[in-house]
Point group: C2
Chain length 641, copies 2
Amino acid sequence: MKTIQFLPDKVKIEVDEGENLLAAAAKAGVYLNAVCGGDGVCGKCKVKIASGSVESDQARLKNEDYAAGIRLACQSTVKGDLVVQIPEATGKDGKALKRKPVIARTISARSLEKLVGLWELNPPVEKRFLELDPPTMEDNVPDLSRLMRAIHQRCHDCINPTYDHPELLRDLPFTLREANWRVTVTLLKRRRAEEADRIVAVEPGDTSGQLYGLAMDIGTTTVCGMLIDLNSGVTLAEATAYNGQIAYGEDVISRIVYSQRPGGLQTLQEKLVKTINTIIETLCRTVVISPSDISYIMAAGNTVMSHLLLGLDPKFIREAPYVPTCSNFPMIQAAELGIYAHPSVRLFLYPAVASYVGGDIVAGVHACRIYKSPELTLFIDIGTNGEIVVGNQEWLVCAACSAGPAFEGGGIRHGMRANSGAIENFQIHPETLEPMIITIDRIKPSGICGSGLIAIVAELLIAGVIDRQGKFNRKISHPRLREGEDGYEYVLAWAKDALLGEDIVISEVDLDNLIRAKAAMYAGYLTLLESVGMSFADLDRVILAGNFGSYIDLERAITIGLLPDIARECFYYLGNGSLWGCRISIIDNRRSQERVMVSSLITNLELAENVSFMDRYMAALFLPHTDISLFPTVSEKLLTT
Amino acid sequence: MKTIQFLPDKVKIEVDEGENLLAAAAKAGVYLNAVCGGDGVCGKCKVKIASGSVESDQARLKNEDYAAGIRLACQSTVKGDLVVQIPEATGKDGKALKRKPVIARTISARSLEKLVGLWELNPPVEKRFLELDPPTMEDNVPDLSRLMRAIHQRCHDCINPTYDHPELLRDLPFTLREANWRVTVTLLKRRRAEEADRIVAVEPGDTSGQLYGLAMDIGTTTVCGMLIDLNSGVTLAEATAYNGQIAYGEDVISRIVYSQRPGGLQTLQEKLVKTINTIIETLCRTVVISPSDISYIMAAGNTVMSHLLLGLDPKFIREAPYVPTCSNFPMIQAAELGIYAHPSVRLFLYPAVASYVGGDIVAGVHACRIYKSPELTLFIDIGTNGEIVVGNQEWLVCAACSAGPAFEGGGIRHGMRANSGAIENFQIHPETLEPMIITIDRIKPSGICGSGLIAIVAELLIAGVIDRQGKFNRKISHPRLREGEDGYEYVLAWAKDALLGEDIVISEVDLDNLIRAKAAMYAGYLTLLESVGMSFADLDRVILAGNFGSYIDLERAITIGLLPDIARECFYYLGNGSLWGCRISIIDNRRSQERVMVSSLITNLELAENVSFMDRYMAALFLPHTDISLFPTVSEKLLTT
């Protein structure tokens, strides 16, 4: 970690080496004039490096400026501890924002261990190299019996294994003889004591050194895969791809609608399988193995994705009373679904709790072991749908909130997914009301992603540009504030500074959508807690899961009322909990076997027709809430501005 | 049973009502001149009905003869007790053969019970009609959980069943709703205590009254099926068809050879499946149900047939040291093999003991419970291959003898399978040496089947036409005895009396082949018995199984040395033991569960390279044996003629 001090206000922040200096300033809450998103074209984010070292591009700077230590923050990379002087022109009035920078509580190795615990290297598949005695007239038992005998003699923990038919049996006589009776057996360990281990593959020679597993999070928007060496537990590669179903609808509901068309279900299944295959190919190319070298797949997805992957019709998930076909998904042969995998490879899906609380949530809860902790924990996964789990080792309740797709850019005029060019961070100068926008990949802005949206709304609120109802202050006269197509709006980027050559704005309609989304989440937390006679004050931990959860700025999320205003040290970012669960389960069979138990411990509460949820939702349709006393730190901020 | 007395020799025999009179005379050992096989064309088998009633065809008889009570025996059917006078012209010298008629020891209901025991009506599949509570917002568990809950509540003996994926899951939501939550579940009961019951089908409404099982013997030559009502245990229909693989080879070895050609294995599998489908269609047409109403298939076949059905390459069964792929065949979904069956239907195959002692033999041993009896039993199945099992409740040993296909007509110039026109019974007049031939379906003869062959050889031996080495007595001058293509031969039917218009003969080459076949069997019994320090004298029972076994004339089989010369009351005809085993297993799950145990109790002895087997085989290449003292009753017969 490197320390940066921004002068004149002496604001300090610690960042990783290699961090972009503009992003570091934004994190520290130091305002720099920046309208091009970090693309380097506006040339406004000039700073002077008073001491320390940055790597920087000289382009767009005069030679004398460069010699004097002037740099464009957006073009500079932190290489060591720094003292950075912000020129008056860059900061406009030379003042940093009054907000105290908050160091994001990302999970360090130590706190991660506290959350997800340790795991043993004990994967659910294993390979055993066996040397069989060749048959003779005195010992001419069937090939399968000979194999079983060797397993019995060599693998004392594997009693009377079953085997795959017909794949295994048909090839067995030839494999044994071609390999001169020296083969490697892949065993799928039993899941329950009363089950038997299962021989899923017999390969010639000794291949026991190659044992790979694939952990996979199957999201509505994104599918993430992780290739793991099951002999060492080491993650070899990660890959991500958009779910190929996106073309058929942004959220699970529109996917269900599409699945009801003729051939729709099959199309959706094929698209998802294609996405999975893309990930497998990418991972295998990276590590230079063949897809057939993967021995095991552990995946988690929401209930609709799980249904679609297995080709189960999700029709009744959408209709009250919201009944899925099943919640404990059967083990399947991945190749049967069209996945690029050896026919022996099994795909496991995390069990779901209900139609809208799926295996991804169970995987997250499983990963961070809430069901084993005495600490009362609120587990939040914010995405298209918000899922919430509350509980500890004694009880667990969950609910899904139809938060809507605002956090993934849906229902927002210039909303977009967290791709290149999405505004992901934002500050506003308290006096000039000029924006500081930072985009993903530091190119010209093309829209706003979820984290950007939260930043924008929080900043506009603190700056008094919008009121607590999410309406623009009509008294302010500013070129960026104007009446637009959807009513009043604030121009985040002028057409000339934007990638697509049109103004990027945020409107009152957008604000309204965001407020509804965050209100649903907040009402959800409260309904769940109160259903068990608890309140926020009882919470020991709040765990933020989901890809989006990792990017949320805690202070701003609290500012808009998306997260409860409680002690900041209670918050943990888990990241992709679904992938975490899969990763742990694929490495540690003992933990893996708790999966189904975890899902059965969680009681689902249907919020859709819950009256007290509706009341709490209405009350939360303010920024941060109708009852400001619930948000004391936000209240203080609003008073001091 | 009706009693027939043949005059003038007062030979009595009991036969079933409806028996053909010529066949009854043959059974009684009464010679009648008959050269057309019973077709009615030669008109030589005239008898006079002294008292009693026959149904007879008047054609080919003069009116005055008919009025005088003269009938053609081959055209007459027994309707009651009879006294039959054999005219001198018909019997030539008016004398019946000296041989004492032996009443065949077919299994009566009582002795059958002693052999195969009783069974309970407790099939391995069952149907349960369930009325589920429709889902509500308060109770919106997944469809599968709802079904499982109802099973748990209603079927106390079925704990945590597993289920079929994907067939069952994909349809489940629709089946439940269309049936208004009233469905019938088909459960496959667990085979071992540590397994779980399995839901294999969910049908709308109450179909528990329709529960059918198919028992099936898959023979190299013939496939037999039996449709059983599993709610009552009653056999509804039986059907038989030639194994469609016959075109690719008569015996298992030639099938294995064919399987090694490109596409050969697949062709053989398809032909067998087609045969099975023909049987299913026939059975279903007879009972007027649909093939999809069958819930379970239990089959048995030799090791090669079992491999071919499952698509397992039998290559190494043929090559020393004769190793099959497996002996405990996996449960399979019948539809996967192309069998006309509901996807839920499982097909079970009886486990084999070794490459040449298959599931058909295990099924037979299982059916007659040798492994539970204190009586030392010799179990014999004579077909293309002869299989032998010896033992009791304490031990069981088995062996296969490469008897060759003589008993199925193979290697015999005019040999044929037991079809219409095959000579199945034969007598020779001791003085005129004219034949009495009876064919299957009483048509003109077209060849000789196994039982006919045994009769011919035994009769020729007793009549002194051949000697104990199987050579024709060159001293006899008779139009039917002549030098033919393959050396000396006896003309069984002249071209004019034969169906195909050519002489039907038996030659010394034929005799040699038969002697080799019976010698292999006899040497097999002896080798097995002596391997455990026993002899024929220790035997309590000899059980003859196999379709062919049912037609063997005990006395004649002993006369040629195919069966040991021991007390006749020790012999039992089981019939198709393979089908018996399947039938019992499909009705009584408790007995069914002993199948694998039975196969594991049997120790296989390889005769192929066994020196003492070869010695015994050489010693048995005589009629009935080199050592005539082993066959005291035959010795006596030969002395008295």
